[in-house]
Homo-oligomer: 333 residues x 4
């Protein structure tokens, strides 16, 4: 309560709390009075307490997410995608081109990354682009190519779903549906994904806190789909040498707050090819459940994200280092 809050103000808050079934514990100090609200957090949240006379600040003690929390479920969630397991002690390498450009580009990349150790193939068919003048993806044509690449390599595939209208279409082709950073708080899309029976990889928005990422995951889980993989891909800061700042602490934090697996996308976080190797190694050492990296047969000709794409040779070298490091850390590949 504010310094000048009256007894009437205090009683009013206490009474309102009781009206939603909560208890009010009143502690009076010399300067200020603090009211502790004990009860169901959803009921208490319906009261706009900060709008009440005499109230200075409301400080939530319980976390605003529930189903995704470690407190709700103690053991790690493991997610099966065909023969691959994600979560727990597993470290999963996902690789492929930023955008599916044509079948030749895709299948060459799929074979190369599989050979080097990738377990899942990534590739965008629908691309969110900051400029309306940039390449926007091949759409369903791209999805078909991805499915065909899966047939030929047995690599499960992951691709982004941009819009509620395409949820069923994308789910029909892909093994994992990816929600891009800009859609992390597209609550209607999250709700739609809740009714799909396939895993969802949810990228952290570059402007979201870890708590907000977990609340976005809560939307999907609450709507019925428990197979959510979190993904850290850098946050926006004042630093300009990198496109975003990879928040490496998000990995251990997410693992302590939630039972869901968490991965890292160093390609988007840094925007720079030279940083992919040190950042993937760091992600693994910090406990990540995997990495997503962009690989292209010829980054110079890429229609999207060329500067951060790895060549086949780059990727092979990094994958080898990751596999060695995982073994030194007793992690399963």
């Amino acid at each position: 309560m504010k310094k000048g809050a009256t007894q009437k103000d205090i009683d009013h808050v206490a009474e309102k709390l009781r009206s939603v079934g909560a208890e009010a514990h009143i502690s009076k100090g010399v300067l200020k009075t603090v009211i502790g609200a004990i009860g169901d957090k959803e009921s208490i949240r319906t009261l706009p307490l900060e709008a009440f006379p005499g109230v200075e600040k409301v400080i939530p003690i319980l976390k605003p997410f529930k189903l995704v929390s470690r407190e709700f479920r103690d053991e790690d969630t493991l997610i099966k995608v065909r023969d691959t397991t994600i979560g727990g002690d597993y470290f999963t390498i996902i690789a492929g081109p930023c955008a599916v450009e044509n079948f030749k580009q895709l299948i060459e990349t799929a074979k190369a990354v599989k050979k080097a150790g990738a377990k899942i193939l990534r590739g965008g068919a629908f691309k969110p682009r900051t400029s309306p003048y940039s390449f926007q993806g091949l759409g369903e044509e791209g999805l078909k190519m991805l499915a065909e690449a899966r047939e030929l390599t047995s690599l499960p595939i992951i691709t982004e779903v941009l819009d509620v209208r395409y949820v069923d279409m994308v789910a029909e082709y892909t093994d994992i549906l990816q929600v891009g950073a800009r859609n992390m708080q597209n609550f209607l899309l999250l709700t739609e994904l809740g009714r799909i029976n396939k895993p969802v990889l949810l990228k952290r928005s570059f402007s979201s806190t870890i708590e907000e990422m977990l609340m976005a995951a809560e939307y999907v889980v609450k709507s019925g789909n428990h197979q959510v993989i979190l993904c850290e891909r850098g946050i926006r800061t004042f630093e300009t040498y990198t496109r975003n700042t990879l928040d490496i602490s998000a990995i251990p934090l997410a693992k302590s707050l939630s039972h869901l697996p968490i991965m890292v996308d160093p390609s988007h976080a840094s925007g720079k090819r030279d940083l992919i190797e040190p950042l993937t190694l760091a992600a693994l050492a910090a406990g990540s459940n995997g990495v997503l990296v962009e690989v292209h047969p010829n980054p110079q000709e890429a229609l999207c994200d060329g500067p951060q794409s790895l060549t086949f040779a780059d990727f092979e070298k990094i994958a080898e280092k990751l596999i060695n490091l995982a073994s030194a850390l007793n992690r399963k590949i």
Copy 2:
């Protein structure tokens, strides 16, 4: 080019630039070589120059937006909404509840804000909420109440459209379609709004630069709808006393970079009722074309954003100050 770039690297870049119809101006310094690319920016953007050998950095000289730029159109865009004009020297007050809760709440608010000087009525029917456990809005029922409030008060209305599936439904009822901050880079939604013949108010994402806001506006305009109103509503920073940091400089900057009107939403920027008055006055003094404020008959009972909502008496006082200040600054109300 990097310090060690070879003549072959330089020739390669120059040749690629020529292949898309651009000229390459090569300036050699003692330490580094700089290649100036002169030509159509859209053609040049198709080259992933940073992926070329020897290239250190690509620095765009031309701005990435076009149709919304002041360079494209020198005079201010004026937008007519029934009898109200937005843009140029006009300062327009938009007020109403955060969410439409029931007809009584809405119509009382509409009458009160009209009497105090508001020209447009705001109210949410579809609400994006960070938590899946919060009130999500009345949906089409709310749109009908807004239309009825317009009949009774002749105030034009503005309401948010959350999703591509509801564009036509919302457009049928409302006078202005609002795009929320979290949807500012929902490119498919922006494209859909491009085919609607009603003004769009585009809120700046709390994590977007001014340039990205203008590129989002470019999506709408390029798709055919020239009636876009920009809206600054605070950006995310390290400061925690306010919910977001109102970027007051965005107003003069947007006005110098673009011909579109720009407004300010101080309620969401600050999250605090006490800051609404100083921030609205500052917005007007900095050249804003208007403000959006949240008003509620009884903020203590609000289902949404109670702590930042004004009472009728608060709003009346602020509106009076705004009208006086506008007159001192030779602005039209």
Copy 3:
């Protein structure tokens, strides 16, 4: 307390609180226990509570500053500098060159800004520069020129003190000592300024919260000098069109949290000459006690901050608008 905290953990915290003279109010919920600590905040702060077993988080309820708080002193602090008053309803214009370059430049500027309405002359003699290769100021020579300009114009002067070794020297010449943004948390310098009997203008660091600025002011006041003027000059954010983002909300917030005057420096906040006019007007409308602006006879020849310096003609125009606006807002110039 954490979810699994034991009764022993709870008792341990309670006992430690009592050992420093505080009361412990224990509220047990279904999921968690909250312990309210009631007592002297300085005593409680000596306990590293977060290091105790079972403790999840410590949330301070009382503000960490005291002498500078509005709760400590209700009425506005007014500061007299020769014939000029700062604080309360006063709006004070401070103007002058970024750096004192030579006497001719200084005295011409002093006369021009006085004529246009400035009440105090600013000018740097010691300059903190990001690069060791930039102009570092004239030192004591510059202080002498400032004092001489004061003799000739009767404008009080303000200049920056960079280092504890120069506190006495700078205090001997100047009327107000300025602490630059980079020194806001130079606690030894702040302590030294506490023993000087002249006002101190404390610039907010571009990476400090409002609370940290007030705690820096607390250092000066606690050391004996009550004449502190706060100054908002922009914070570092992801936006790159402006050098920093002026936090306009800091003005009303500082005024509600503290009794000290607060000013705005739009030149450093924006780094752009074209923004000075809208930002100074906005600062005044938001309740600022004054502005500091950089003025130079010929910005093209300035040794420091040319791009953001106003010409005499620019300044005259802005000062006139500020004086008119102040009168419309019933503020004293």
Copy 4:
């Protein structure tokens, strides 16, 4: 140049560039003219080009630091501190209490960290504290204790110097002088450290870019001291679960931009004991030359930073994991 820049404006800029010995390469496009300035960067920097008529923006191509750059010196700088080497392939563990509290606390910690694998002992004698009411350190008494601990354990010591007045005193006792994050841009202190013949560990300010850290290092090196160790300790962002956000990318970036060693301080970056292990492992995997961690015999009784301090047992476990990982990565301990 701006869109409407005249031929006279262009000629004026070109002429000014020539007046400082630079060449001006003029490239005219359809919309804009670009002038490339080729010459000595320090001479060109003396011109306030952005203040010239018709100039839109100045984009520096050369980096603003020189002596610390990888371009200036290709091979890694190795720094010898008694028998320990810092830089290159070495990974050095520095550990000790946040503040020296008394000799018993210090010597117990020194012995414990030495046994577990630390090569250098840290401990603060002068403490910068945000609040004037917090413990400020033992001063010279603390320095003497550190020197005595070195005698007894042969661990070299590192301690912070807060102020120009104490540079000689601190240098007399310590092996490495530490510059705290808040002093990173205390240019007079940096200049004083340039004349000392002992290594300087320079902590990145939580609000500085990597480029600014390198320019601060340039101050020290330019003043005569080549033994500078960089240290990443987290930057300020909007995320609130951690005290700061560790910028892990700063490690590979600093190593590619500069020949100086770079270390990581995970204790200050995170403010949380549980994050120290994953962050130190990640730092090593990303290529860091070492880590600084806070260790205390009894964190519950610490006078400073208890919540982030490790117990002896925690530290032993982490040091063992670091030593194993370093060996898997072919790094020297």
